[in-house]
C-alpha cells in the first residue's frame, strides 16, 4: 500500500493499523501439538521458529525465503494471506500444511480452511469488515516431514514456480501427502486425486511423474517476466520431484 502511495496511486481515505492490538503477535504450541500463529507475526519471527519442524517446517521455510531480510522484519502472516498475491510464498506453504485461517469480524469469529480461503488473484474469502487474526496448523504426525521449494530468477524475487510438500513416510511407503503448487495460476492449487494416488507408493520417479502430470494439467500458469506459461509447465515436474525428495530427506539434512 505504501509503495503504491509512493508511486502516486490514489491514497486510501483511511488506514487502520493493527500493530498495537494485543494478542495478535506470536506463536503458541498447544497441548496436542497444533500450532497457532497470530496474524501480526512478522516473517522473520516465523522463520526463526525452530518449533516449526517436521510436518510444519514448510511454513518456516516459506517465511525464510520471502523477499529480503528488511521485508521479513516488516511483512506479516496476516498481511500476506489477505493480499493473496498469486506469486506469494505463504499461501502455497499453508495450503500444503493444511492450515485453518481464523477470521474475526463484526459478526464474530469463524474458521475458514485454507482450501476454501484463496478464491482468485488477490481475492480471498474475507468478508467486508473481517480481519485475519491467526492461522492454526494441525499437529504434525511423527512420521511427517515437509519442505517449501521456491524457484526464482534471482534471489529474493517472487517465485517463478513454487512447490510446497507435506509428507508422511512409514515402512518404506508414503502414508499421506499434500502437494501445493504456487505461482502457476490465480491461487496455489492442490490436486487431491493425484495426492491420493501417491499414498502407499514409494514416491518413486514414475509415480511422481504421473502426479506432476496431473498438476500440469490442472494449473493455469501465466506468461510474465519470469517465464512463459509453457516454460512453467516444462519445469513443474522436475521441481515437484525435487520438492518431494527434499521433504523426504529433510531429517537427514540433504537438499538438492
Amino acid at each position: 500500500m505504501v509503495a503504491g502511495m509512493n508511486a502516486g496511486l490514489p491514497k486510501p481515505s483511511q488506514v487502520v493499523s493493527l500493530q498495537d492490538i494485543p494478542g495478535l503477535r506470536g506463536m503458541i504450541v498447544e497441548a496436542d501439538g497444533a500450532v497457532r500463529i497470530a496474524a501480526m507475526t512478522v516473517h522473520a519471527a516465523v522463520a526463526a521458529e525452530s518449533r516449526l519442524a517436521g510436518g510444519l517446517a514448510v511454513v518456516r521455510e516459506a517465511a525464510l525465503q520471502i523477499a529480503h531480510p528488511a521485508i521479513r522484519n516488516m511483512g506479516t502472516l496476516g498481511g500476506s494471506l489477505a493480499d493473496a498475491d498469486p506469486n506469494a510464498d505463504y499461501p502455497c506453504a499453508l495450503l500444503a500444511a493444511g492450515a485453518d485461517i481464523e477470521l474475526a469480524g463484526p459478526r464474530g469469529r469463524r474458521i475458514c480452511p485454507v482450501d476454501a480461503f484463496f478464491l482468485g488473484r488477490f481475492t480471498t474469502a474475507l468478508a467486508a469488515g473481517e480481519i485475519i487474526v491467526g492461522v492454526k496448523l494441525p499437529p504434525p504426525a511423527l512420521e511427517e516431514t515437509s519442505t517449501y521449494l521456491k524457484f526464482s530468477r534471482v534471489d529474493g524475487d517472487y517465485a517463478t514456480v513454487s512447490v510446497a510438500v507435506r509428507v508422511g513416510w512409514r515402512d518404506g511407503a508414503c502414508t499421506a501427502i499434500r502437494i501445493a503448487l504456487g505461482s502457476c495460476g490465480g491461487t496455489p492449487i492442490r490436486v487431491p486425486s493425484a495426492e491420493r494416488a501417491l499414498v502407499g507408493t514409494k514416491l518413486d520417479v514414475a509415480a511422481l511423474r504421473i502426479a506432476a502430470g496431473a498438476y500440469v494439467a490442472a494449473c493455469d500458469p501465466p506468461s510474465d517476466f519470469r517465464g512463459t506459461a509453457d516454460y512453467r509447465r516444462m519445469i513443474i515436474p522436475g521441481l515437484l520431484e525435487r520438492a518431494v525428495r527434499n521433504a523426504l530427506n529433510a531429517d537427514r539434512g540433504i537438499r538438492s
Binding site: 529480503h68 524457484f151 529474493g156 517476466f225 516454460y231 522436475g238
Partner: protein
C-alpha cells in the same frame, strides 16, 4: 588485504587506500543532489509522454496551474527550437511539436513540494495527433516507414551521415581490410551465426537529479548527478541558448553513472524552471521515471562470420550489425562505430569487412553504457570463436593464443598496438582456473546439474578525448589539484590525488582535490571511456612536471647551487644531493609569492589531446575520428565456471577469474573493486537483465521486475588479477579499467554455459527459459 590508514601514506602510487571521501559516505554526511536544500527551493516534476509517436497539437495546463502551491508550468511551446546532443544535435529541452517515445518529457512543473508538483504534472493534458510508430529495426527500415526525424539532414552532426540508406537510419559505417571475398575463399572452415543482445538499464543506485539556482546577476548554477560538468554546461547552453559564461555546472557526490549520466536530461529542465520562477528548483526522478525516460544500452542484432584454416589460423571476419538507437541519437553513431572498431577482437585477421547500421525507433533512446558497443560485439565474436574451436577440435585457449594480436601489430585502421599484457592475462586465468586440468578431466557436476568453464578475451581502449589539469602550490607547501573530472564513485579523485602526490613526492593528504566546476576547473570531456586515470593522469604528469621545474629553479636560487645538484625529497622538500641542505615547498611558495625575484605563484598546467592528423578517407565515425586518436588499447582475459540446473535452466556463476592489463595499478584495491563490480554488472547483462517493450511501452520499469544481481546471485569468489605492462605515454604507465570487466563477463559466461550445456544460447540475457529450451530442443534463443 592491505589496510592502510590514509594519514600514513607515502610513495602514493601503487598503494591500496580507501577513497578520500569514504568516511563521509560511511556516516551519511556525503551530499548527493537530492540531499541538497536551498532556501526558497521549489520541487520540479515531469509530465512524460504516454504515446510513442505523435504531433503535439496543444496543451491543457490550466488545471495544473490552478493547483495551490504550483509556481510554474513549462511546455515545449515555452522554448525556441534549440538542439543539443554530442554526436547529433537532435534533442530539445522538452518535446517540441512532436513526441517520439513513451516516457519523453513533454512538460515540467515547479511547486512548493514534490507531492504537489507530481500531482500537478498528472493534471497536464497534451493533445496529440497520433502517428504510426516503429518499434523494431525491421519496422524502422521498411519501405514507407513513418519517419521519426524529418529534419535529420539539417541537424548538426559531427560525422558524415550521407551513407545512410533509409530515412530512419542515422548512421551506416564500414571498416574494411584486405579482401573479404578472397579471405573466405581461402578459409577451410566458415561459421555464420546471428547473435542478439537486449537493452540493459544502467541501474545506478542514485536516480538522475538536478538542482538549479539563478543568482542576482542572472547566472545559473546547476548541481546535478552527472558524469561531466562540462557536458552538462554544454547541454544547458545549447538547449536553452544561455551563454556559457552564465552557466556554472558543478556536481555533488554522484551515485554511479556507468554512461547513463554522461549527457544531460533533467538539468536543462531544472534550469528552465529556476529561471521561470526565480527560485531554486530541484528535480529528482523516481526510479520508474529514470528507467522510462533516461537512456538504455543498445539492443543489437549481429550477423557474424569467421573464416579459418584447418590448423586454426584466422583468415577472415565479417560482421553486419544493427543497433537500435531509440528515439534520439544520443551517442548511438559513436557506440556503433566503437563496436566495429572491436569487431575483430584482439586477433589477427588479414581480411575484414565490418558493417554497422544505427536506426531510430520509437522507444527510449539508447546511449553510452559501460562498454559502449563493445560488449555486444565481443559477445558475438568470443562465442563464435569457441564454436570454431569446437569445430576444429582445438582447445579454446590455444586457438586464441595462436591468433593473438601482439605489441607492434596494427589494429584495424592502422593504429599500432603500443603494449599488451594479454598473454600474461590469459596465462593467469588459465592457471588459476586449472583450465588445462579441467579440459582433460572435467569437474563432475552433481546429479541434475551441469558444470563448465568458459573463457573470453577483451580488447578495449582508454579513450583519448580532451583533458587538462592545473596543479597549484599552496603557501603551506601542499598543492591544489584541479582537473574538472567528476568522480562517479569509481575512485578517480583518490587515484588522481595519488598520482599528483607521487609526482611531487608528497603524501596524499597534502593534495587538495578540487571538485569539478565549470567556473573553476580546466576542461575535461567527461568521466567515461575508461579514460580518467589514463588521460587525466597524463595531464597531471605534465602539470606536476611544470611545478617541479619551477620549484627546482627557485630552490637552486635559494640554496645557491646548480640545478643538476638538486633532488626531490619525500614530504615536500628539495635538497642538494649528498648534503642535508634543503628547502621546503612552503619556503619555495613563500619566495614565489612575496619576493620580487620569486617569479610569481607556482602553478603548472597540463593539456592533452591527441593530434594525429586526420585523413578524411580513413577515419572512425565517418570523418570524425582518426584511428590513432581513438584511445590506448587495453586487454584482458576472463575465465568463468558455471553450473546449470537441468530442471529449470537456471545458470549460476560458481567462480570467476578476471585478469586485466591496467598498465600500472595506481590504487590496486580500487582496481579490484572495479573488476569485481564490472564483472557483476556483466553477469546481470548476461543472465538476468532485459528491458522489455510491448510496442513502445516499457513494461518493466522497476527493480521488482527488472532484476539486477544481489549478493546472493554472485559467486563467492571473483578473483581480480592485475597485470601491469606499462603504457609509454602515461607518467606511471597506467591505463583504464572501468569498462573491460563488464565486457569480459558478457562473453565468458555464455562460453562457459555452452561448455557446460553442450548447447549454445545466442541471445542475452540467457534466462532460465532460454537455457532450458536450448538444453531440451537445441534452440539458440535468438527468437525467444
Amino acid at each position: 588485504m592491505n589496510l592502510v590508514n590514509v594519514n600514513k601514506v607515502d610513495g602514493a602510487v601503487g598503494l591500496t587506500m580507501s577513497r578520500l571521501e569514504a568516511w563521509e559516505k560511511a556516516n551519511g554526511a556525503a551530499i548527493f543532489t537530492e540531499d541538497m536544500v536551498l532556501a526558497g527551493m521549489l520541487h520540479g516534476a515531469l509530465a512524460l509522454s504516454k504515446v510513442a509517436h505523435a504531433r503535439i497539437l496543444g496543451y491543457e495546463i490550466s488545471a495544473a496551474l490552478a493547483l495551490p502551491g504550483v509556481k510554474a508550468v513549462l511546455t515545449g511551446d515555452d522554448f525556441e527550437p534549440r538542439y543539443m546532443g554530442l554526436v547529433v544535435k537532435d534533442e530539445t529541452v522538452l518535446a517540441k511539436s512532436k513526441v517520439r517515445y513513451i516516457g519523453e518529457p513533454v512538460a515540467a512543473v515547479a511547486a512548493v513540494d514534490a507531492e504537489t508538483a507530481r500531482a500537478a504534472a498528472r493534471l497536464i493534458e497534451v493533445i496529440y495527433e497520433e502517428l504510426p510508430a516503429v518499434f523494431t529495426i525491421e519496422q524502422a527500415v521498411a519501405a514507407h516507414a513513418p519517419v521519426l526525424h524529418e529534419d535529420f539532414d539539417s541537424y548538426f552532426k559531427i560525422y558524415d551521415a550521407s551513407t545512410r540508406r533509409t530515412p530512419n537510419e542515422l548512421a551506416l559505417s564500414t571498416l574494411r581490410r584486405g579482401d573479404i571475398v578472397q579471405g573466405f575463399a581461402e578459409s577451410d572452415v566458415i561459421l555464420d551465426q546471428v547473435y542478439e543482445t537486449s537493452a540493459q538499464y544502467h541501474a545506478y543506485l542514485e536516480p538522475a537529479a538536478a538542482l538549479a539556482s539563478v543568482d542576482g546577476r542572472g547566472k545559473v548554477t546547476v548541481w546535478s548527478s552527472t558524469q561531466s560538468v562540462f557536458r552538462t554546461q554544454a547541454n544547458v547552453h545549447e538547449s536553452l541558448g544561455i551563454p556559457m559564461a552564465k552557466i556554472r555546472a558543478v556536481s555533488p557526490r554522484v551515485g554511479g553513472g556507468f554512461g547513463g549520466k554522461s549527457e544531460a536530461m533533467v538539468q536543462p529542465i531544472a534550469v528552465a524552471l529556476a529561471m521561470k520562477t526565480g527560485r531554486p528548483v530541484r528535480i529528482a526522478l523516481s526510479r520508474e521515471e529514470d528507467m522510462t525516460a533516461m537512456r538504455s544500452r543498445h539492443p543489437v542484432r549481429t550477423r557474424i562470420r569467421t573464416g579459418a584454416k584447418r590448423d586454426g589460423t584466422f583468415v577472415a571476419r565479417a560482421i553486419e550489425t544493427w543497433f537500435d538507437g531509440g528515439a534520439y541519437a544520443d551517442d548511438t553513431a559513436a557506440v556503433m562505430n566503437f563496436a566495429l572498431f572491436f569487431g575483430t577482437g584482439p586477433y589477427r585477421f588479414d581480411h575484414v569487412d565490418l558493417v554497422g547500421h544505427a536506426v531510430y525507433t520509437n522507444k527510449l533512446r539508447a546511449g553510452a553504457f559501460r562498454g559502449f558497443g563493445n560488449p555486444q560485439v565481443t559477445f558475438a565474436s568470443e562465442c563464435q570463436i569457441d564454436d570454431l574451436a569446437a569445430e576444429l577440435g582445438i582447445d579454446p585457449v590455444d586457438l586464441r593464443l595462436k591468433n593473438l594480436v601482439h605489441a607492434g601489430d596494427r589494429w584495424i585502421g592502422g593504429q599500432v598496438v603500443a603494449t599488451s599484457g594479454l598473454e600474461e592475462c590469459i596465462e593467469k586465468v588459465a592457471t588459476a582456473s586449472r583450465w588445462r586440468d579441467r579440459a582433460a578431466k572435467p569437474v563432475e557436476a552433481p546429479d541434475g546439474k551441469r558444470r563448465g568453464l568458459g573463457i573470453a578475451l577483451t580488447a578495449h581502449i582508454s579513450g583519448f578525448l580532451s583533458t587538462s589539469a592545473i596543479v597549484r602550490l599552496a603557501e603551506d607547501g601542499s598543492v591544489s589539484l584541479n582537473t574538472g573530472a567528476v568522480d562517479l564513485g569509481q575512485g578517480s579523485d583518490t587515484a588522481l590525488a595519488q598520482m599528483c602526490a607521487a609526482g611531487l613526492g608528497l603524501t596524499v593528504d597534502a593534495v587538495n582535490v578540487v571538485a569539478a566546476d565549470t567556473d573553476a576547473s580546466p576542461y575535461n570531456s567527461g568521466t567515461n571511456a575508461s579514460r580518467v586515470t589514463y588521460m587525466v593522469g597524463r595531464a597531471i604528469g605534465q602539470a606536476t612536471d611544470v611545478v617541479r621545474e619551477k620549484m627546482f629553479k627557485l630552490a637552486a636560487d635559494m640554496l645557491e647551487c646548480n640545478l643538476a645538484d638538486l633532488e626531490l625529497r619525500p614530504g615536500g622538500f628539495i635538497g642538494v644531493e649528498g648534503t642535508d641542505h634543503s628547502v621546503s615547498f612552503a619556503q619555495i611558495a613563500a619566495k614565489s609569492i612575496w619576493f620580487a625575484d620569486g617569479g610569481g605563484p607556482v602553478i603548472g598546467t597540463g593539456s592533452v589531446m591527441h593530434n594525429e592528423p586526420l585523413d578524411p578517407k580513413h577515419t572512425l565515425l565517418a570523418g570524425f575520428l582518426s584511428f590513432d586518436n581513438v584511445g590506448a588499447l587495453t586487454f584482458g582475459a576472463q575465465v568463468v565456471d558455471v553450473e546449470i540446473d537441468e530442471t529449470t535452466g537456471k545458470v549460476d556463476v560458481v567462480e570467476a577469474w578476471c585478469a586485466h592489463d591496467v598498465g600500472r595499478a595506481i590504487n590496486p584495491g580500487a582496481v579490484e573493486g572495479q573488476i569485481q563490480g564490472g564483472f557483476v554488472q556483466g553477469l546481470g547483462y548476461a543472465l538476468t537483465e532485459e528491458m522489455v517493450w510491448d510496442g513502445g511501452r516499457l513494461t518493466n520499469p522497476s527493480f521488482k521486475h527488472y532484476k539486477i544481481p544481489s549478493s546472493l546471485d554472485v559467486p563467492y569468489a571473483i578473483h581480480a588479477m592485475i597485470v601491469e605492462v606499462a603504457d609509454p605515454l602515461h607518467p606511471f604507465g597506467a591505463k583504464g579499467i572501468g569498462e573491460p570487466p563488464l565486457i569480459g563477463a558478457a562473453a565468458a559466461i555464455p562460453n562457459a554455459i555452452a561448455a557446460a550445456a553442450g548447447a549454445r544460447v545466442r541471445k542475452l540475457p540467457v534466462t532460465p527459459e532460454r537455457m532450458l529450451r536450448a538444453l531440451r530442443f537445441g534452440a539458440d534463443g535468438v527468437d525467444v
